[in-house]
Symmetry: D3
């Protein structure tokens, strides 16, 4: 029994990681997980927020947003509403935490990197695509900072790589990398963030309909780990290519 | 090797669940997990939000907030700042989802229950205390709605019970129900929400310092399940006592 | 003709002043005027707002708020609405002015005390309960600052005590310390703040229905002065008790 | 010993009440208390706010604001700051309550009158000038509504007149109608709103420096009553003049 | 074929420029273009915004607003709505740019002038009246700064004069200085800002109904230039009169 | 003397108009003017805003925004700041007015089209690129509405085409279609919006440094008209291509 788009349960959507998308940003990636497209830019500035000044340590943060018509029905702009919604806040925080898990603040020195992840087109899994793409943009930005001598010679601010994928149970079957239609129908939905060496940075599982048991949880974790492993390879390939 | 407050790794703090704390609310509970104290009130109103009208189904939602001096250092009021922070949004959403996991909207009918969880004193684990207390307030509010015939005779809007606890790895040791000092020092921090029959509603694990592996994850899940089981018993005891 | 709760016209509701309610705040009081319960915390910080720096003088300010279900019908949170209502502003300002009337800024030195008055349960007279309780929390906070040597030895930042009570005319009869049901039915409503030696700090009288004449005004002031005198005694008793 | 501007203690500043200032509003008055100038417009609309619909009763409300350079030092616009300050809220509410004290909602019928009081130039006593001027604008607006048959024939929506004045104790002397320089130096400051027949609508006394005793309070009330009486005469004269 | 108010197509409304309207501001003008009345105040402060500090150059900025009942129908206050509308933003920016076109920042030195343009009564052309009046207020404020030695002796911060007028095509006829009724019926509406020597600072033409061709554009520009020339004369006359 | 990027003064940058960029929107265009890239989506909904209901007429509006790192230096998000800046408001309004100039509301019927113009990369001329691209997105959306029978058979809601271009005087030379570096150095900057038949919809000229005279204005208008004419051809070509 195949999935809505013909994939097997353990198959990712077609992934593309396009570096150097923007001429201004120190790192920029247009990442696609199928029809989900997220523009991730990494902006480097010297200095850190006030509460961190003089610590000798850097800072990495992230902001996530969706263009109003990235979705099937147009959503109101948060700038027009005058406030940021809970979902946006939650995802921005998740992306920031995920990337910070592989940053050595001391090695980064008192520099700040802001990752902007703007969803140009949404089809499920926007937060996991954002994390996966933002890592590559961050790597490019860090390399830029090294070339510009903002980072001291011989220091490596990145302690590893990080990628993310969604998994879920749809009609009783655990599936990897849900598209929007699958996401809507999922009983359980989980986002997993892993380092390139297969350890967990974040595990966020939610029972959308019925609560899930330990067996289901284990099956989802297995799928997610294999998906993140594949994404780590794609990230490495992208970074090794000449930009 | 005992914990900062003398507990064993798998021991909860002293838990108290005080029902009927407020004379106005349809359900109200002052819940304590050690020095963490959260006032949970459940407010029932007839009718549902506009987008749900005519569906025959009810709605349950939650709002979490901290009093400015519930913490060691005074925090600015979100009402004064004019906006709600990401953490507040995130926790409010988590509490709402957790309770909705045991609600049968059809049986509830077109009624709305709002759970307000206000932290009077914080010492770690405020969100898990809030969920655990809010369930009891919700149960009282539902009983009130049944007595007032807002819920049709013979319908049971609650499909089970729900409780939550935090777990974490501190200095390499998995611990149950972290107090603030432990929470600050934890490498990994996880909040787990379970139903009374031991299934998962939410699993949110975050690597605060080093990423965690599958073995650690499993140890944390074991601890959390046993903690939630104990909390479920305490909830039942509280609800069986004469208010 | 007795009152709704059996009191005589010149009788206060049962008053309780519970010190040391919070483990974090430098001063904290749970004050009750009958069913009205307000948690008052006093937070001390070294330093003063920018406009007062270098003056050698301290600052005292207050913020008042109601929990959403402290009232009979749930009110929306001001943090969610994104702005503070006029009534909240008005009461916060009243509390701050009332306490500042007994503060010697020079003696306080460049320290700031913030009084947070959060209404946990409302049954009329929340602002007067808040002032009465906040004074006691302030006294504890000042004593703390003296012990911590933030205030110079031999200086007494408090020049007196302050308490407040509501009075009103209901069905032609002047009454002391209105509960909610009386407040709603009052033709005239007055809040009076007095120092412990019987002088006035604030007099705020409002004709809710018919305007009032000088005779009525005098009767209300007499009641209020006697009520504040009784509250001053209760404050003194509370502060003399071992916490 | 004369005052800063040569007045006796019981003397008002030169008062002017200029009706018909604006071509658009149903009632409009430029009121001056010395150098304090407030433009008061009354806007009539058919219908009432949602919560009052179907009651057969009208509504009267007020908004107060200061132009940024109405004061000696320019103040930031509240529209630019994105929120209304506590003082503005407080005064808007006071003006609204004061005018409502002489309105018969039933006679007004389901019409709304909004009083806008914008301070063009401030020199103390802006809120009392606003109330005094707004009453006249309201009277003109009500007459307009009667001519337009929005108010039923034979009904009189105004049950009396209302005026306001400030009083205060400066260097131990009770003074009527404080100008800014006096206001700044006052130990006690009181705003009193009276009906044309000499009864009280609002009494708001504040100890700016030292608390005040009953004798001082009485002296201030005497001054205020005589000041309001004089203002009531000036309001009557203005309304009797051909516009 | 004469206009609604009897003017010829190339005739301005009666213009009045009343200096020294406010006792507080360094420059203040009540400007009228027919029934359109705008109060323009110029506030001088030593120092410049942070981004300009140390440059040796001054700054000039403007804020425009309408009183709620300056218009035929009452508009909600932007302070109450909590945000500034697009039209207000647009006009404030236009006024600021227009005045800055005749300011020599170096000669002004590190001083800031804020122009507040508050519409007391609106009847079309409020932005052009505001610019024309604000220039005169600015000239008075600059003269004040010269007298106070904030501007160095021998420096002239103003490089010329600036005035503005609206033009439009109504029923096929190009008209100067539209009143509200004409503005509403105009096919094309243009605001033109000129220096006293007849050059352009701003040209903003908008096709309200049908697009306009080059011939119409030229006719409108001719009218506008002649109108601005006449306004420049009136500004000079006002500034030469003893205040 | 050639331009910074080798163009002649009357030459446009390379223009690309890529239709069908988004799978969700009824019309979507990625438009590039050199390195300036704007994503324009057109969203059609049945129905109109409240104030237009029952009129039988449609509505077209636009919102413009820049991604935070579309510019050389990262700008703060307006959603995070909680308010929309003046420049954003101004451009959104300009785009809306420009498109409405070629819309027949009656023919559109009670449908609403929202144009979202999000700048992905900025290099000068973002507002003119947005208008030019948005027109094509609008045309596609209108065709969609015709196919879906939202627009009645035989009605044509578009009365013409519209395009926009910037012109300016740099070092005394009038130039077409300024890139960012030219824009920064321009003495005069003008944005011109024309219909496909060469008439003007908007003319907005601003003296950035020295005021400009009639001769310069005429030279700029000539350049702009020829540029818009060329853009009209490119729009037509794009729309005639199979999507």
């Amino acid at each position: 029994m195949s999935r809505i788009d013909g994939r097997t349960p353990e198959q990712l959507r077609p992934i593309s990681i396009e570096r150097g998308w923007s001429k201004h940003a120190e790192g920029s990636v247009l990442v696609s997980f199928g029809d989900t497209k997220v523009l991730c830019t990494a902006s480097v500035t010297e200095g850190v927020p006030r509460w961190r000044k003089g610590s000798g340590e850097g800072w990495v943060t992230a902001e996530y947003a969706m263009l109003p018509r990235s979705t099937n029905t147009r959503g109101d702009r948060e700038s027009v509403k005058g406030k940021i919604g809970g979902r946006t806040h939650e995802i921005s925080r998740l992306i920031g935490r995920s990337l910070r898990a592989v940053v050595d603040y001391k090695a980064l020195g008192e520099n700040t990197v802001v990752l902007d992840c703007d969803v140009l087109q949404a089809d499920g899994g926007t937060r996991t695509a954002a994390i996966t793409g933002a890592y590559v943009a961050l790597a490019d930005a860090v390399a830029w900072a090294q070339r510009k001598k903002l980072v001291r010679a011989g220091r490596q601010p990145l302690t590893g790589t990080v990628a993310a994928v969604s998994v879920g149970i749809v009609s009783g079957v655990p599936l990897l990398d849900l598209c929007y239609e699958e996401d809507v129908r999922a009983d359980t939905d989980m986002n997993v963030v892993c380092t390139g060496d297969g350890r967990f940075v974040e595990v966020q599982g939610t029972a959308e309909a019925a609560p899930f048991d330990r067996t289901e949880l284990n099956a989802l974790l297995d799928l997610a780990v294999s998906g993140c492993d594949r994404l780590a390879t794609l990230q490495r390939d992208a970074l090794e290519a000449t930009e």
